[in-house]
Structure formats: C-alpha cells, structure tokens
C-alpha cells in the first residue's frame, strides 16, 4: 500500500524529515508516535502535498505509484485522506455541498460517473446517524461555529463519505472528550478493511486504546527510531520519549 523510502523534507529550508522509511501494508493500522517537533504533522502534510513542504530526497508511493509528483487533489482522487488536526472553516459552503463537490471531483478524476443526489443523501443520513451528527448541522457552513469535537467528528464523517484507501489521522483525539473519542474511534474502526491502510499520528497513547494499531513507530528528529507492536505505545506512555532523544 504505502511505501516511504528515505524521505527528506524541509519547511522554510529547515530540514524536518531526515531519512524516514516506512512500509504500511494494506489492511493494517500503524501508529506514529513521537515528541512535539519530531515531524509528525510534517509527515502528514508531505504525504498530502501541502505547499511549503519541500521533499529534497526519497520517495513515497501508493500501490507503486509515485505520490510526490501529484497535487493534493490528485492524491485525494487516488484515495489519500488526511483528517486535519485543525480542520478549516469554510464560510458560505454547506457541509453537504462541500463533501458532494469533493466526492464528484474525485469520481470525475477517476473517470467514474457522478453520484446521484438521492444516493448521496441516503449515504449521508446513514453515516451521520452512525457518528451521532445532527443532520441539520450538515446544512450549515462547513465547520463554521462548530466546537473542536464537532469539527473532528465532521472529519470522520467526510472520511466515511469519501471512502479513501489511505487514511491519515493527525492528532484526531485532541479536543475530544471521552464520549466523543469513542464515537470517533468507532467511526474509524468501522472503516478498517483489507483494502485500506491507516496511519494514526498521535502524541498520546490514549487514542490507541480505541483504535488498536498493528504496529507502532516512534518518530524522533525526522526519522523512525523504533518500531514494535501495540505494547510499544504503552511503554512510551510509561517512560516517555526521553530514551529516543529530544527532537532536533
């Protein structure tokens, strides 16, 4: 699925990723943990193609296809989805309109027909119910006036509607109380499938009690410095990141 080889990236000419290598097979959930400043968010932005995040060396491929040469919308059409740590507010664009526009743009890029309005609405109603999102909220401007927790839930809603193949969750648990966290985690877990892979980026182990990873990687100073099973997350929670060195 996702293969990252010796990835180097800079932000404003400052090296942040310094030779990151990672293999994420289809069907698996991998967690990326690390101290603040280790490059966790940079990794999510480099994979999604945000402007200002320059790759100087290395590669990232999805099912063998180079991602780094594509613009963000082309990557999305190939199934890359990032759940933002801080989702943006889009005034004047109702959530449903936004998501339908995105879905149809992706389908068009893949040479698929547009989804019909009734089919889209039916899926939206079912998905909203599962995530305990008030359907009326979807008629309001996307994220405008939403609480932090509502925004995160809306990210998962969009993820479910767009049905991506590679899911990147950047600090999805921040700003969530325990009830919201359970709902969000259930939404994420419902999307686990043999054809999908997930990268769960988190500073704390808490989220991983609800979204159980197959592998845990420690990111420090721009590289993966340790990898292990789920028990690694508990060890990090107990002992902190000190033994892996401070971020550069």
């Amino acid at each position: 699925m996702l293969s990252i080889q010796n990835l180097h990236a800079t932000v404003a000419d400052k090296p942040i990723l310094k030779g990151l290598t990672l293999d994420l097979p289809a069907g698996e959930v991998h967690a990326i943990m690390g101290p603040n400043g280790a490059g966790k968010s940079t990794l999510s932005y480099v994979l999604t193609g945000r402007e200002g995040y320059e790759v100087s060396e290395g590669s990232a491929t999805l099912d063998g296809e180079d991602l780094l040469g594509l613009d963000p919308s082309e990557r999305a059409a190939r199934g890359v989805f990032l759940s933002f740590q801080y989702p943006l507010e889009i005034p004047g664009v109702p959530a449903l309109t936004f998501i339908r526009t995105a879905l149809n743009a992706q389908r068009k890029a893949r040479g698929e027909p547009e989804v019909s309005a009734p089919a889209f609405l039916k899926q939206a109603r079912e998905t909203a119910a599962a995530l305990k999102i008030d359907f009326d909220m979807l008629k309001r401007s996307l994220n405008v006036g939403f609480s932090g927790g509502e925004k995160k839930r809306m990210e998962i809603f969009q993820m479910a509607m767009l049905s991506p193949r590679l899911l990147i969750l950047d600090e999805t648990d921040s700003g969530l109380d325990i009830d919201a966290l359970k709902i969000v985690a259930a939404g994420v877990n419902a999307m686990r499938s043999p054809g999908r892979a997930m990268l769960v980026i988190t500073h704390y182990q808490r989220l991983l009690d609800y979204i159980r990873p197959d592998r845990v990687h420690v990111l420090s100073a721009g590289r993966i410095v340790a990898s292990g099973g789920p028990e690694l997350a508990h060890e990090l929670e107990r002992e902190g990141y000190d033994k892996y060195g401070k971020a550069a």
């Binding site: 999604t48 402007e51 999305a76 989805f81 507010e89 889009i90 004047g92 995105a102 767009l162």
Partner: protein, 345 residues
C-alpha cells in the same frame, strides 16, 4: 460637479475630479478629454437580465425617457417593475433622470439593469425614489457596462416613517463606473438595507458609494458590500452613515469585505460613521485580503482541483450578499449572474 451637468452643458470643468474628496478614487475630469456627441435615439427589444420575472418594463435607451411617465406605485398589491438603462451608442454621451414614487403602504420590487451594447459611451442616470409612510421597496441592480464606458448612476432615496428600503447593487464595473446611493433616513421605524458586490477583472473600475443620513429617532441601516478584484481592476467602496444630533436609538451596521486575487488589483475603502447622537448602536468592519490558502489546501485535500476550489470559495464569499436578496426569482438570477461572472474571472 456631476457627469450629468457636464454632458448637458458641454463644460468639462463640471466633471468631478480627484480634487473632490468624494471622487478622489473615481476621477472623471482627468479621464474625459472631450465632450462626446449626444447619443442618438434608438430602441431595443424587450428583455434584459430580469425579463423572465415579468412585470412592467421601462427601457431607457441612450438616455431617452420621452414617453416614459414617472413610476407611481400605489394600492395594496405588490408591484414589480424592470428598469433598463441600455446604451447602444459607441462613443456617445447621454443622461437620464427617472422619478419613482411609492405611496404610503405600497410595495415595489425594482429590478434595474445597466446594459452596455456599444463601446466607450458616457452615461449618467439619476433616480429619485421616494417611499411614503410604511411603503417598501426592494431594488436589485445588475450592472453590465462596457469595458470602455464611463457610467455614473446616482439614486437619491427619501424614506418616510416606517418605510422599508433594501437594495443589492451588483456590478462588473466599466472603464470608470460609480453606482451611488444617497438616503435621507427619517428614523421613526424606517429601515434600510444597502448591499452590494463588485466583481472586477481586466482594467475595470467600480465605485460603490453610499451616504445615509439618519435624521430622526429609531432608524436602522444595515449594509454589506463585498468585492472580488483581479488583474489590474480597481474596486472602490465609500460608505458614509451620519447620525444627526437627536437621532437616538439609531442602529447602523456597515461591513465591507474584499478579496484581491492578483497583485496588481486594488481596492480602496473608506467606511465612515459620523455620530452626533448619544444613544446609538453603530458598528463597522472592513477587511481586505487574499483567498485563504489554507482553505484551498483543505478543499484540494478532499479532492477538489485548485481552480474549482478557488471558484467555490470565491462564490461562497459573494454568496452572503446574494442570500440577503428578498425576492426569490431575482435572487436566483443574481446568483447565476455572479457565478457566470466569477467563472470568467
């Protein structure tokens, strides 16, 4: 000092110039070097952007109002009129004055269009609109002047107690264009909504100027103007609200927001609240900036291509003005008009 006077007298020194404080961003004197020949009489087929909404059509072609009576609206039935200012004379000059009187309790939807059908004309339109007690008017303007034209429209609106006046002026500008509204506001429960949008490209210029004079107790004015400019276009917003001594209980709100999409485009804004009364609620806000690049990245991350993301965010930005239009049919025509314009920006 008006374009109309200069056209009537042939005296170019009567043109407003940059030395006039209210015209400093819309200099006509420095632009117009010769008196244009008077535009000839002409006629046009019925139509215009609001044709589908029916109502009475008043077409002013090349400034000719011969045979057009003053528009008087009375009686309980809501009326709809389409007022078209059509310019068909290349390089010609013309001016017109229209009087509209809406009697107490009567109601008018005024759908106004400026239709440039020739290059480089000089056109002036003056509207006198009076609203009787409890009367209501919604005025919606779509201005499509020629790129080389000079066009000035001035509406002077007189409100009576309890009257409700609202307007939405949307324009694509001209070589130089000013759409001005002056409101004599008596307070006394009368309300005014003054919205506008300028959507400009190439070297077009549009100036939306408003002046509201609150002369009495308990009046309300609510104003929202938005602009989108690109290339070397220039947008001007001047909004003045005066609250006279004794006009207590006035509620006046003014907002102007503009998006600049190119480095060489320009927006000049001058919001003014002049308050001489004590007990009032007044606020104004003015923001000018670029499209939010983070929001564009967010939309692209969800699969929306860059150009479509920009168009979506720009349309949404202007949409707030369009959503405030009260007349359903006119609102959708304005929306389609704006989307077509933004699509070509």
């Amino acid at each position: 000092m008006t374009l109309a006077t200069a056209l009537k007298t042939g005296d170019l020194t009567k043109l407003p110039s940059r030395r006039d404080e209210d015209w400093r961003w819309t200099d006509l004197r420095g632009l117009i070097r010769a008196v244009p020949p008077a535009s000839p009489q002409a006629s046009v087929a019925p139509g215009g952007p609001f044709a589908d909404l029916g109502g009475d059509e008043l077409a002013v072609v090349n400034g000719r109002t011969d045979g057009l009576p003053d528009l008087v609206v009375e009686g309980p039935a809501a009326q709809l009129a389409r007022l078209r200012f059509v310019s068909t004379a290349a390089g010609g000059g013309h001016q017109a004055r229209i009087r509209i009187s809406v009697k107490p309790g009567a109601s008018l939807t005024l759908l106004e269009s400026y239709e440039g059908r020739a290059a480089g004309y000089l056109a002036s339109a003056d509207l006198d609109i009076s609203l009787g007690e409890g009367a209501s008017v919604e005025r919606i303007v779509l201005a499509d002047d020629d790129a080389e034209a000079v066009s000035v429209s001035t509406a002077s609106v007189n409100l009576s107690p309890g009257a409700a006046y609202s307007q939405t002026v949307m324009t694509t500008g001209a070589r130089r264009q000013r759409l001005e509204t002056r409101i004599a506001h008596p307070g006394a429960g009368a309300t005014a909504r003054l919205d506008g949008a300028y959507l400009l490209s190439a070297q077009r210029h549009a100036d939306l100027t408003t002046a509201v004079d609150h002369g009495g107790l308990n009046g309300a004015t609510n104003q929202l103007t938005k602009g989108v400019v690109r290339d070397q276009a220039r947008g001007v917003f001047q909004g003045r609200i005066v609250v006279e001594r004794g006009a207590d209980g006035t509620d006046a709100r003014m907002r102007h927001q503009a998006l600049i999409l190119s480095e060489r485009a320009e927006v000049d804004a001058k919001p003014e609240l002049l308050i001489f009364a004590d007990d009032v609620q007044c606020a104004h806000g003015n923001t000018i900036g670029a499209l939010d690049e983070e929001a564009i990245f967010y939309a692209m991350q969800r699969g929306v291509p860059a150009e479509q993301a920009r168009a979506m965010l720009t349309t949404a930005f202007v949409g707030e003005v369009i959503d405030r239009i009260g007349h359903d049919g006119a609102r959708e025509i304005a929306r389609a008009w704006a989307e077509a314009q933004l699509g070509s920006l």
